[in-house]
């Protein structure tokens, strides 16, 4: 077994691109981007819906979306973890939940993408094949000594999105494991071990609206086999996946590089497609925070999205723009986006052609 990546084996599909330095990331097909706004304004809400397979050719086609950025994202994650192992942590009692998650992901990928992934089982003797990353692994399910990493970290090094595992006790959820290499400015190292209200403490406005009380009640009822999803979003200058608080002094200065001329290319909408799964053995909840990035230039090629993004950014309460970290560039964004909004009405819903 080795985790030596061999990107290029599927170069006709997986892009060879970067999320740092020269930032060669881009989307080949903007229409598969999960645009997060279903109306022309935005406020926090629980906005949960069943996480079921959706429209073909979009990020919703499969439960776990493996897209053209998969190999490049995994290379980026490996670099982040090499620089800072604290980005992946699991408290000792979360090992079983890690196995649950490994099973969920391997089964979903082997089922939905048989050309890339394979899983065969002989009792607890499992054989896993990940062709895009060049991995073949025989191991014994629930026996940690048979994998090169603990189960949570092992599968996280092969899965897009940041994930956390929530233990349920005392009537709340505890974030007792997590990995973050594509996060919107929150720290796994600081937050691991916190309960639901504690790790959401810094979010403005939503507590007062009762959003977290309702969300927690909803999540405590989450059933195995019936995952749910919601959107979140923010803004990032350059397609930088790893906007970690740990490295903020390194990437923070990029926010000051926006000009009217480069805004369309550098300013990115950062979408989190969040999904939640109840796990069968541990009764923990797995939380996937999958990050999608698109430049403003690419978004405004879709007229409905161009109009809507302008209106959302223009009308957002300043507290939210501050919390989401883009207040300094908001006026410039609105000015730039206004040129792509002809004032026409938009249809309800996310999809570009509805």
């Amino acid at each position: 077994m080795s985790l030596d990546f061999r990107p290029g084996a599927f170069a006709d599909f997986f892009r060879n691109e970067t999320f740092r330095d020269d930032f060669t990331y881009r989307n080949s097909n903007i229409l598969r981007f999960p645009f997060p706004f279903d109306r022309d304004d935005y406020m926090y809400s629980v906005n949960m819906e069943p996480h079921v397979p959706g429209r073909k050719g979009t990020a919703f086609e499969h439960i776990l979306d493996v897209d053209e950025h998969y190999v490049a994202e995994m290379l980026d994650r490996a670099k982040v973890l090499a620089d800072d192992p604290l980005r992946c942590q699991s408290l000792p009692h979360m090992t079983l939940a890690g196995w649950d998650l490994l099973e969920l992901i391997m089964e979903a990928k082997a089922r939905d993408y048989p050309q890339w992934f394979g899983l065969t089982k002989d009792g607890n003797r499992w054989h896993w094949v990940n062709r895009p990353l060049g991995i073949e692994q025989s191991f014994t399910f629930l026996d940690e000594s048979t994998l090169p990493y603990p189960p949570f970290e092992y599968i996280m090094r092969q899965t897009q999105g940041d994930w956390t595992l929530q233990d349920e006790r005392d009537g709340t959820l505890w974030m007792d494991a997590g990995i973050a290499t594509s996060q919107a400015d929150w720290s796994v190292d600081f937050d691991v071990g916190m309960n639901f209200m504690e790790w959401h403490a810094p979010v403005p406005l939503a507590h007062e609206k009762g959003v977290f009380d309702r969300a927690l009640k909803f999540l405590l009822k989450l059933q195995h086999g019936a995952p749910v999803r919601r959107f979140n979003w923010t803004m990032t200058v350059n397609p930088l996946l790893d906007t970690a608080p740990e490295t903020y002094p390194k990437w923070g200065p990029m926010k000051a590089t926006i000009t009217p001329e480069n805004l369309g290319a550098r300013q990115h909408l950062r979408v989190e497609l969040q999904s939640l799964y109840r796990l069968p053995r541990s009764n923990a909840i797995a939380f996937d925070i999958r990050c999608y990035l698109s430049s403003f230039d690419q978004i405004v090629t879709v007229p409905k999205w161009a109009r809507r993004l302008h209106r959302v950014v223009r009308d957002l309460p300043p507290e939210l723009a501050t919390y989401k970290g883009f207040i300094r560039n908001r006026d410039a964004m609105v000015e730039w986006l206004a040129k792509h909004d002809d004032g026409q009405p938009t249809s309800p819903g996310w999809f570009a052609d509805d």
């Binding site: 600081f190 209200m197 300094r328």
Partner: protein, 211 residues
């Protein structure tokens, strides 16, 4: 435009939702009473004992650990004269913790925990107790005295004790940090984030927020 990332809220501003809830200590029936305090926390312990129906019984089963507060307040005599079964005075919190670790390693169910004083003392003592498996809800905490904060630099991970100003200089990596109102029980510290990351060198004058 200047980023408005920091809001220099006063200490008594609206609750920080990740911050522990503090309430006056109350005597509770128990086989053993483990009392850990620093600085003005001694006054909270004295007040708790004044409310006890069986004061002498509680003291006969009490183990008190105390150190002076970061502001120099030293009420050792007030606690020692109470006459608990065991009394220990440490010069500082770090010097107190090894004894606490030893004591909680063999503590029995039914033990009552009373923590009083600064948030740094309460947080670090609570962490030691929780590491043994006692649920945090079984631990009483009363904040008294200094509001100086214990802050972890999110960048270098070093902890700076007794932070008074916002922003302040990280005692480990030297970055200027603002104190975010976000508290980690596991680390027993608030979070410090670089204030001039986006505009290096643009650091507002430090303001005394914690005393």
């Amino acid at each position: 435009m200047k980023p408005v990332k920091t809001s220099l809220t006063p200490v008594d501003a609206p609750a920080i939702r990740s911050r522990p809830v503090y309430a006056p200590l109350k005597p509770r029936p128990g086989a053993q009473h483990l009392i850990v305090a620093d600085g003005e926390g001694a006054e909270a312990v004295v007040a708790m004992l004044d409310k006890a129906n069986d004061r002498s019984g509680l003291l006969a089963a009490a183990h008190v650990m105390y150190c002076p507060g970061p502001n120099g307040t030293d009420l050792t005599a007030a606690l020692q004269t109470l006459g608990p079964a065991q009394f220990f005075r440490a010069p500082t919190i770090p010097a107190l913790l090894p004894r606490l670790q030893r004591v909680v390693s063999t503590v029995h169910m039914g033990t009552q925990f009373y923590l009083a004083g600064t948030e740094g003392l309460i947080g670090q003592a609570e962490r030691e107790i929780m590491a043994t498996g006692f649920p945090f809800a079984a631990i009483q905490k009363e904040h008294r005295g200094s509001t100086l904060r214990r802050v972890q630099c999110v960048h270098c991970k070093g902890i700076t004790e007794n932070v008074a100003t916002d922003p302040f200089r990280c005692s480990h990596c030297g970055l200027m940090l603002f104190v975010r109102d976000h508290y980690s029980r596991r680390i027993a510290a608030f979070q410090g984030v670089n204030i001039d990351a986006e505009d290096p060198g643009l650091v507002p004058d430090p303001v005394v927020r914690f005393t």
